[in-house]
Amino acid sequence: MKHLRNLLLMLILLFNLSLSANAEERLRMSTTTSTENSGLLKVLLPPFEKKYNCIVDVIAVGTGKALKIGETGDVDLVFVHARKLEDKFVADGYGVNRRDVMYNDFVIIGPADDPAAVKEALTAAEALKKIAIKQAIFVSRGDESGTHQKEKEIWQAAGIRPEGKWYQSAGQGMGEVIIMATEERAYTLADRGTFNAFKGSRTNLKILFEGEKGLFNPYGVIAVNPKKYPHVKYDLAIKFIDFVTGPEGQGIIAGYNVNSDPIFFIYGKK
């Protein structure tokens, strides 16, 4: 028994997870998996953390969940790309001080041989229509994410309700969906950032349609309403919002690229 106790003590010392609060302040931010996977936060957060001597805890989940944990007050701010849902978030009183941060766009990707002739489409709606007519496999996010919302908008514009064996609702993140589509040589709607990260090594799908204004993917940052949740770190959240929308943050965002491809674009002058 003595040995057991000694071993336990040793392990406790080694693995003391500082269960009590740290010296620095922790700011909790929820965001989407695609934002986290783009790698932007790895370069965007450290300067902020250093400047204000804090740590930003990033909880990367699906858009729906990211907003939900903002609604429940489990995070201090929310950084997503689903404008309609963001507006509702603020309108319902959960968030305050929403600001535009950056944007990227969505692209329709698919197999290089393009069986549905998406390349010839003039609009995104037309592109999806061609896929539906051909009954070529289309993998949908199916998870109420920003990407999924955009996809639904386009189907609506095309006047089509997608259903059938060819339409696969994956219920997973962007990365998983790209992998699925790659495996099945299928089409999907992806945000350019994630696609660029996968391009080359992890997918052989190609961009077959891009550039339309409707495929715009704006990112917004919102502070969780302190009136609703007095415990949230409102001041620090505002500082973060000011940072990412200010010259330093915007500079980092504009300069961030993967494989020399820019992922995000800022508003206004660089």
Binding site: D57, I179, H231
Partner: protein
């Protein structure tokens, strides 16, 4: 299958280069697992012993329930605890969601039925003269229960090892309650899940190999303790 071979090389590379993120994930994984095992042993071992020794109405029902709890999916446990500790929940004021503490709570819930059940098994398989021998030598009921636990310590250790195996390898609880925060609540398993979701299969498997090595070392330690 190419990624399987590639992953061994990657695993070695990560270990040798003392990759900070990997070590942080290992430290988090082992840390939360060990703490959960400590708490769940404190709860589960006495529970298993008591259920085994005492006769009480509905004993059969309790045992069946215990068996069923062993099959609790980790996501379900994650959801239940989430409901408790989220700001919306009754324990929201503690503010422990998305911290290692939350994972420890969830993993403790996971491990208690396992430890209790295996301990119960050990009790039922134990020599039925132990308790009466202790009692007739003047022990109180509590003391005789302690003596029984000592006599079946091999089985109890097996229970703890089983519990450890369950928590070190689970993803559902760690993901839901920890939030997979890099450098803070990212465990080996949530890191593997993340890498897999990004299509980084080789990297994911490399992390898996490292996790198995860590688990092996800890089990060797636990087994050594068991032999004493």
């Amino acid at each position: 299958m190419g990624f399987v071979r590639e992953s061994f090389g990657t695993a070695v590379g990560l270990i040798l280069s003392l990759d900070w993120e990997v070590f942080s994930a290992v430290r988090t994984s082992v840390g939360v697992a060990l703490w959960s095992i400590v708490y769940s042993s404190v709860l589960g071992i006495p529970a298993g012993v008591l259920i085994g020794i005492r006769e009480f109405p509905l004993k059969r029902t309790v045992i069946t329930l215990l068996n069923t709890l062993m099959a609790l999916p980790t996501v379900v446990v994650g959801l239940l605890v989430y409901g408790l500790i989220s700001r919306q929940g009754p324990l929201g004021a503690w503010g422990i969601l998305f911290t290692p503490k939350a994972i420890i709570i969830g993993q403790t819930v996971l491990a208690v039925p396992i430890i209790a059940n295996y301990t119960l098994s050990a009790v039922r398989g134990a020599d039925n003269r132990i308790i009466s021998t202790a009692l007739t030598l003047g022990a109180s009921r509590l003391q005789s229960a302690f003596q029984l636990t000592r006599e079946i310590r091999f089985g109890v250790m097996a229970a703890v090892i089983a519990g450890f195996g369950r928590v070190i390898s689970e993803v559902g609880v760690a993901m839901m309650l920890g939030g997979n925060i890099r450098g803070y609540t990212r465990t080996m398993t949530t890191a593997i899940a993340l890498e897999t979701s990004k299509g980084e299969f080789a990297f994911g498997l490399a992390l898996g190999i490292i996790l198995m090595i860590v688990a092996l070392i800890i089990n060797l330690l636990l087994n050594h303790l068991q032999q004493r």
